[in-house]
């Protein structure tokens, strides 16, 4: 009998769960084996076999592929739309072939994402599903991604403490066996309720920080040195618009351009425009600061940087620009992050003191004068 196909795919945050769900339904006879979790080794391995100054996600994907192949996979999955990402597939396939691996490469790149083509590709790979059933499988996958993103967003906004993350992980476990849209929906509602019950109202309004930047670096905790968890440890409430849901159902560029309010007048590729538009809205909402995270050399995000600098100056809102690559030292990164958080915290206290002063300025004023003498 023919050996069952073993399908593997690279990681991005915890999207392996919905992907596993999707492939499990598309290929009931195949084995789905997501690449082993990203470690330091993955990054080193990927960097060794990648072009010198390619963006980080390429290197992580590369490491994932090699580790996946080593773990026994014979079919690799890659998509590709967006800036440089659209061209990852062809080169990665070539590099892996040059390394001597024997595998089949499914690449749903720009030309391959039309429904008819996706259907044909999947059928030739041995999926027994008819078109409507396949559409159903995609609908379930999309719904699970939406549910996941919604809960993840809740966790981020509430600082991740109080066992919120445990509930979230339990949800991911439960998601693996959910097989229909209504089931996923009820699952999501139940866990969201649980989260709302758990998270108590915090004593003081927490610092609010928005995260913008290129999609992979912002979403994959390994590539951004666990930025979000570090912020959560300080009790910061994080807002991050970027997610796979956002990529799939985000607003069209025309609307985003309007939201950017003149800081950008044209789309600048990939999510550069989104970064600026989101930062503008954070500034309007009075956020304490914005963190702009990108992979080193990410051109769309670099296009956004001058606009972000202007925004930061005009709206008096600090923006921390972080550029991640495999050579960034964790200690240096932490120092900068801590300094940034200390700074925005001090700014908030200062503002608080200013408002107090203006409220009962008289007493405060006297007190101060006494102090200075």
């Amino acid at each position: 009998m023919k050996q069952p196909r073993v399908i593997s795919f690279p990681h991005m945050a915890d999207y392996a769960v919905p992907l596993e769900l999707l492939f499990g339904r598309l290929f009931p006879h195949a084995e789905i084996r997501p690449a082993p979790p990203i470690t330091k080794e993955t990054a080193v391995l990927g960097a060794r076999h990648s072009p010198d100054f390619i963006c980080e996600p390429f290197k992580y994907n590369m490491g994932n592929f090699i580790e996946g192949l080593e773990a026994g996979a014979d079919t690799l999955f890659q998509t590709g739309t967006g800036c440089r990402y659209g061209y990852y597939g062809e080169l990665q396939e070539q590099i892996l072939t040059d390394l001597g691996y024997d595998f089949q490469f499914i690449c749903l790149n720009r030309d391959g994402v039309r429904p008819r083509q996706v259907y044909n590709t999947l059928r030739t790979l041995g999926s027994p599903l008819t078109l409507p059933r396949m559409a159903g499988a995609f609908a379930v996958a999309v719904e699970s991604i939406r549910a996941k993103d919604k809960l993840a967003d809740y966790v981020r906004r509430h600082g991740g403490g109080n066992g919120l993350e445990d509930i979230y992980n339990k949800f991911l476990q439960a998601l693996l066996i959910a097989d229909s849209v209504p089931k996923i929906f009820t699952l999501m509602r139940a866990h969201l309720k649980q989260m709302q019950d758990t998270s108590q109202t915090q004593p003081a309004p927490p610092l609010r920080v928005g995260i913008v930047g290129d999609l992979y670096t912002v979403m994959e905790p390994f590539s951004n040195y666990d930025l979000e968890r570090k912020l959560a440890k300080r009790g910061v409430s994080i807002s991050r618009r970027m997610s796979v849901t956002f990529l799939l159902f985000g607003p069209p560029n025309r609307r985003t351009l309007r939201q950017a309010e003149g800081y950008l007048r044209y789309p600048v590729g990939a999510n550069g425009l989104d970064s600026v538009a989101q930062s503008v809205s954070y500034a309007k909402q009075g956020f304490d600061g914005v963190i702009h995270a990108k992979a080193f050399g990410c051109t769309p995000e670099l296009n956004a940087v001058p606009a972000l600098m202007n925004l930061s100056r005009d709206c008096d809102m600090p923006i921390l620009h972080l550029s991640f690559d495999t050579h960034l030292s964790p200690a240096g990164f932490e120092t900068r992050l801590e300094a940034f958080l200390d700074m925005i915290e001090m700014r908030r206290q200062q503002r608080h003191a200013d408002t107090c002063k203006s409220r009962d300025g008289h007493r405060f004023h006297l007190h101060q004068r006494r102090g200075t003498r």
Partner: protein, 303 residues
């Protein structure tokens, strides 16, 4: 009368003649920045984010140089020529980068963004309207400008073809036009090759439409116009040259993918990749090109 400043960088090296003739025909005074030099480079480095690519740094240097010498900067936004023919996103963000960096600067721009036939013509008609010219005058100016640009391109092409007949080691200089024709970047390398007794041949001189079609022979998925043209030229010339020199600037996003593929798929000719950045030393460059030429010479003697 307003003077228009054209930075001699990025798009200029592809559409320079077109732009100059267009403004000439419309009787609009314009000023092209001088050829890149050390001062322009350091100006550019000062005005850009440190991890930007070298061509952008040079562009900003040129723009800064023109800033107080003209009334408006000419910064076109080149997005795409067709559904699979895109420019690097650097070009997409150029007007925004310039206006965010030099907030007082007046910008004159045109946009190539639909990828449909006739985009160029429409874009220039719109540009003419902004300049207050009659559409017929504009159309005539554009037609002349385009004819002139074609002439220049064809001249370059026939020159390159003639060079292929040379007996000295022929080296295909594969690079984006804004690197090839910048005397500070590609110029230095071409002079070095000529000085060492070789004949530099530019990929950008090849027939562009043909190149874009031929690029498929090396890569099927590539969608960056400039890289596709380069790749197509590499494919067409690979059997007629002695060596290929891939010239790229730090950290060029599209080159690093496309060149890697060329390095892996073009195996019948010696290929070398040379990376330029603003800390470039002339000696280092000389050593590497010298050793490449020596190697080619050695191959010739054996073969």
């Amino acid at each position: 009368m307003t003077t228009i400043g054209i930075p001699r960088a990025l798009g200029y090296h592809r559409y320079g003649t077109l732009w100059e003739t267009f403004f000439d025909e419309l009787d609009i005074p314009f000023l092209v920045s001088p050829e890149t030099n050390q001062a322009i480079q350091s100006q550019g480095v000062r005005h850009t984010v440190d991890e930007s690519c070298l061509p952008l740094k040079l562009y900003m240097g040129h723009a800064a140089h023109l800033l107080d010498k003209c009334d408006a900067l000419f910064v076109p936004r080149l997005e795409r020529l067709g559904p699979r023919d895109e420019f690097c996103v650097r070009f997409w963000g150029l007007p925004d980068t310039v206006s965010a960096t030099f907030q007082k600067a007046q910008l004159l721009t045109y946009e190539l963004n639909s990828g449909l036939p006739g985009t160029h013509e429409r874009a220039f008609l719109k540009l003419g309207r902004t300049l207050g010219k009659h559409p017929i005058t504009t159309a005539r100016a554009y037609a002349r400008a385009q004819a002139r640009q074609r002439e220049v391109d064809f001249h370059r092409f026939s020159y390159a073809r003639a060079e292929l007949q040379a007996t000295a080691p022929r080296i295909l200089l594969a690079a984006n036009p804004y690197i090839t024709y910048d005397p500070y970047l590609g110029g230095t390398v071409a002079r070095l090759i000529a000085h060492l007794g070789g004949v530099p041949i530019f990929t950008d001189a090849w027939n562009r439409t043909q190149c874009r079609a031929q690029a498929r022979e090396i890569s099927t998925d590539l969608y960056w116009t400039l890289n596709r043209e380069m790749m197509g030229a590499v494919h067409q010339a690979r059997s007629q040259v002695d060596g290929i020199l891939l010239l790229t600037a730090f950290p060029c996003g599209s080159d690093c993918l496309a060149n890697e593929l060329i390095l892996r798929r073009v195996n019948d000719v010696p290929v070398i990749q040379i990376l330029l950045d603003e800390h470039q030393s002339h000696e280092g460059l000389t050593t590497r090109i010298e050793s490449f030429m020596d190697m080619l010479e050695g191959r010739r003697r054996i073969g």
